[in-house]
Subunit: 338 residues, 2 copies
């Protein structure tokens, strides 16, 4: 892969310009470009500029509104709802996360129910925003079907990611963000190309039989939830928390309603924030630090999120796939489809 | 196994009498006996009378107070805390769950933080109590270390169960309740006795090597989290929600402070209740029923909790291991240890 060197500012500007030239207004372009830049900063390339063509496709098709203005309402002191106006998730988060943090800091617990957004970014971004305010946070969302529930042979659940962050006073938060699928389809495609076998439990072939052959999964097969029936139960919980609780699209509905432009479908996001200070009524920081010290001292253990936070420390330049940058520049000069 | 036939009333009475004769007062004996009877009713024998000897051991050792009176406090309108008075969890639930349900029905979301209890029952009981009030519920708790975090080779996490329930208007709730360990040690012991190989990922042998030999795990080895590093992240979240958030014992602390009597250690429990009616502001019931219908129509799928609820429908008698009943009767006549 040929790469070119870009500063984080250049990455941001590239994303911003491309989004704006394709119909996003300044606020929406800035919010998406910022989240994308954070992904590149942390080494999460799969959530960085790589996603820009799909964002552009959904702006051009008119599925996503580039001029969306999220509307935030306080339903109760501990329950906020945000209607995303059919825009992208990042502006929704910018609008609502500070209010969610304030509600949790006052009430000990608060929920943000986001509807009518198109979410194609990582979830660690929003849970980290809350952890930086001294809060524990959990978030989940659905996507279009790609995973067979335990026992079934056909796609029904989305990859249904869950993310969790825990604040640490003098350190980066502990953060995990993971699909409830055994693997991302992208990873399976890479294994297929390399002709490397997969561990058992990743997917089924087109006949519904378990296989460790990545190519057989790619060729009309289906992914499985991580961890068998237990991971399947968690994926089911994500469907219910995101779509059932919020009256938004279940994964199968998102697919049925989507226009197939390759961009993110409409959906909801459930975010929970908890205040350890209020709930523990005690010196939770020292207590948790002892726990992290004990856990980190075990040989072989790496705290979730630490690799990303390590990447974050490096200087302000990043190596970006040259082909990707070329593709993005082409999106900025080509005529927009109607 | 020789079994004897008992009615559910007889099972309740046996548990109640045994607990009362070993130092539990009427309220605590009744609460524990009721939960145990529900487990036998649903076919969850591992959480039924089977646990009675361990309860008795912890009463006799004085670790658990048989006369505990839980103390409930409202910290904020959506945050309740309950100090269990070092008694068993069931009386704590009886005391606090109705107030938690009322808080969630009013605020959309509410948390119950339980501290200073000894929890050795299934978690489905408390989340089902909430689902019966039209609420979605999540609960988790820690236990003493038996699981190696992903990458590590020694016990650090408890089996750390999580439970979730979703209400269904004209049906039993959807409920799952599962350890975040790949398997319970009891299941591994059964496989060792039967000389049956385990799937990969269940445990390590005493040298820290992965093995599918159940006997090698039992003989000084250690369990692994379900689903590799993803399940390990969830088990870590359970430690933080239960012990970090509540200022209660992490699994390793529970072990260090426990007197080794074989009964349940002191710990906390995190319970979250959510109101689909308030959060969805819509006809969530019809929407979710369509989802359940689609999911259930997939060949091979069984909704979590359905087997227990099926068992529940059968007549009022149960087959109980005769040896177990004999053991319990012996606990009722034997002199109490000091």
């Amino acid at each position: 892969m040929t790469t070119i060197t870009l500063t984080l500012d250049e990455i941001y500007q590239l994303a911003f310009d491309c989004l704006q030239q394709n119909g996003a207004d300044e606020e929406n372009a800035a919010a998406v470009a910022q989240v994308m830049t954070c992904a590149e900063r942390d080494g999460s390339h799969s959530h960085g500029l790589f996603r820009l063509p799909a964002y552009v496709a959904s702006l051009r098709s008119g599925k996503v509104r580039g001029d969306a203005r999220p509307l935030l309402r306080e339903i109760t002191p501990s329950l906020l709802k945000l209607h995303g106006g059919n825009g992208y998730a990042p502006l929704a988060h910018q609008t609502a996360i500070p209010a969610l943090a304030a509600a949790a800091q006052k009430n000990g617990v608060a929920v943000l129910a986001i509807t009518h957004v198109h979410h194609m970014a990582a979830l660690w971004h929003e849970v980290e925003m809350l952890a930086e305010q001294g809060l524990a946070a959990f978030a989940c969302t659905t996507y279009m079907p790609s995973v067979a529930p335990a026992g079934a042979r056909s796609k029904f659940f989305g990859t249904n990611p869950i993310a969790f962050a825990w604040p640490r006073p003098d350190a980066t938060p502990l953060v995990f963000d993971m699909a409830t699928a055994a693997k991302a389809m992208g990873e399976v495609q890479i294994a297929a190309r390399a002709q490397e076998p997969l561990p058992a439990g990743v997917g089924l072939d087109k006949n519904g039989a378990e296989t460790t052959d990545a190519a057989a999964i790619v060729d009309g097969g289906v992914l499985l939830p991580f961890g068998g029936y237990k991971g399947s139960a968690i994926s089911l919980m994500v469907e219910l928390l995101t779509a059932g609780l919020l009256h938004e699209n279940f994964s199968y509905e998102a697919k049925e309603k989507d226009n197939g432009d390759g961009g993110p479908p409409q959906g909801g996001e459930f975010i929970l924030a908890l205040s350890p200070a209020i709930i523990s009524e005690n010196d939770w920081q020292t207590h948790c630090q002892q726990f992290f010290d004990r856990l980190s001292a075990l040989p072989g253990v790496r705290l979730p999120g630490s690799r990303r936070h390590q990447n974050r420390k490096t200087v302000e330049i990043r190596q970006i796939d040259a082909g990707q940058v070329e593709k993005i520049r082409a999106l900025m000069t080509s005529e927009q489809a109607d």
